[in-house]
Amino acid sequence: MSDNRSIVVRHVSKTFTLRYHRTLKQMSVAVMRQQELTDSFLAVDDVSFTIRQGESIGLMGLNGSGKSTLLKMINGIMRPDSGKVLTRGRVAGLIATGAGFHAQLTGRDNVYLNAAILGMSEAETRRKFDDIVEFADIGKFLDSPVGHYSSGMFARLGFAVAIHVDADIFLADEVLAVGDRPFKRKCLAKMQEIRDSGTTLFYVSHAAGSVRKMCDRVLVLEKGRLTFDGPVDKGIAFLHYDDDEENALDTEEELDEEMGADI
């Protein structure tokens, strides 16, 4: 029986410490007033799931529910306090576009840097350079410092690099929030391509519409706990469970359209 598990998360927890007072003076004042110096915050609470190669998963939940933390652990940036995270193959994370973009360097240099950060070798980057530039569609700005780019161009370049990494696992964290409609359309089409090539897709978003289009399985996090793991329609219904009866699925499209996230 061949093992085609792609991501394995077993009883993973992560706690952050919130420090209220930093300097010695603040700390002594707090002690005298009998206030708390630190407090811990359980960001991810005993989460377990298994994802097989080729699945496309939507991760949904309110802000602060632990999505980004979970994503960072899968990406290998943070380590869980307990439990284990296992991945197979190359992981490309689009945690935030423009990671490592240095404002003074040109777009060209930043493409190489960003590609290296995402795990591409120099030869590979050179091979895919033209495709990346074509996708980003920033024209002659490629050779001017990235600091001059608009936020849309920034996002386009970052996404263009990440989307060409040919990863085995592709993590996308709310990256389509920045960008106009044509860009979002292009990105989603490309992500569909990636999905069709068998890459595991792990997509974090608030826009139920795009999750429905892209994913076949949904994970819902609430205050760090995994409260739902199942098919996409049931998942989205689960999310709207707490809504008023009137705010049923038929206004979902309207909400998405307001946010510009209906693509």
């Binding site: 093992d3 290998g76 995270v85 193959g89 085995d168 076949d216």
Partner: protein, 299 residues
């Protein structure tokens, strides 16, 4: 529980299922050589982007220090009359001291400054202090060129023994600089005071080595009790570099090598190098322990 049927994998991944965080450690940094070179290049390019004089500024600092030391210690205090080729003595030491201090200071801040990369990039984090060291090393080369011009004019000729000493001097500085950069960069994430403390430490380094004064002064004043002074690896590094470049520029190199240098300098330098390697091992251990908590502390 997953209710979906298992999709037929169109993509076969020939890799084991393992933890996604990269292995840490200095050896791993060399495995990620390509990113390291990009980081170093980025650092160097970014430093001089937008400035007219550009690379010239990396000379201005050490050269201005040199002139100040030479004027105050050499002319005002009169050391130039008592030490032959005092200018070369100072400048040779300055190259090493400046390299070490730059590595230490930039290295301490390296992780905090690269906050965005550390939080988004799955690479061994030792890479950042090591990149700082390499950037400082890059600046040693042109300074060395200036030194060579001065020494050749004074009648210096390259000799194999001297080159060994030069290599030793650089190696000691690189090792100790990287070790301290490792330790301090991790500590700095948790306590930003560390970068200020390192600044203070830098002053001790500047005057705790025989750069602006010759070793003979120490040997004279603390006759018989120079052990502690010689325990400092940077002393050996500076002395080795001076042995390589300054001794040959004096009128009687053979005499200077024995009279103005501590006895058994070669073995002292080897001992210093071994000490630095040990410190590096300790620093690596400490970095590994602290590294786990770095991403969340950088927020």
């Amino acid at each position: 529980m997953s209710a979906t049927a298992a999709p037929v994998p169109k993509r076969r991944v020939d890799a084991p299922l393992q933890a996604p965080w990269p292995e840490q450690g200095l050896l791993e940094v060399f495995r990620h050589r390509y990113i390291l070179t990009l980081l170093v290049r980025r650092e160097i390019a970014a430093r001089y982007q937008g400035s007219v004089l550009g690379l010239v500024w990396s000379y201005v600092n050490p050269l201005s220090q040199f002139f100040i030391y030479y004027f105050v210690m050499g002319i005002l205090f009169g050391r130039a009359q008592r030490t032959e080729a005092f200018a070369i003595h100072v400048f040779a030491g300055l190259i090493i001291v400046h390299f070490f201090i730059e590595t230490m200071n930039a290295g301490t801040r390296s992780i905090v400054r690269n906050k965005s990369l550390v939080q988004k990039m799955a690479v061994p984090r030792e890479m950042f202090p090591v990149a700082s060291m390499l950037v400082s090393l890059f600046h040693v080369v042109p300074q060395l060129m200036i030194l060579l011009v001065a020494t050749v004019i004074s009648g210096w000729q390259p000799d194999p023994v001297g080159m060994v000493f030069a290599g030793l001097g650089l190696l000691i500085s690189m090792t100790l600089g990287t070790a301290l950069a490792l330790m301090f960069s991790a500590a700095n994430v948790f306590l930003r005071d560390v970068s200020n403390a390192v600044n203070v430490l830098s002053n001790f380094v500047r005057f705790g080595v025989p750069m602006v004064y010759p070793y003979t002064l120490v040997a004279l004043r603390f006759r018989g009790h120079t052990t502690l002074y010689l325990l400092n690896p940077m002393t050996e590094a500076v002395l080795s570099f001076q042995r390589a470049f300054w001794v040959g520029a004096t009128s009687d190199p053979a005499h200077t090598a024995t009279a103005d240098m501590p006895p058994h300098l070669f073995w002292l330098s080897i001992r210093a190098l071994l000490m630095c390697v040990l410190i590096l091992v300790v620093a690596q251990r400490m970095f590994t322990r602290l590294e786990r908590r770095i991403p969340e502390r950088l927020l």
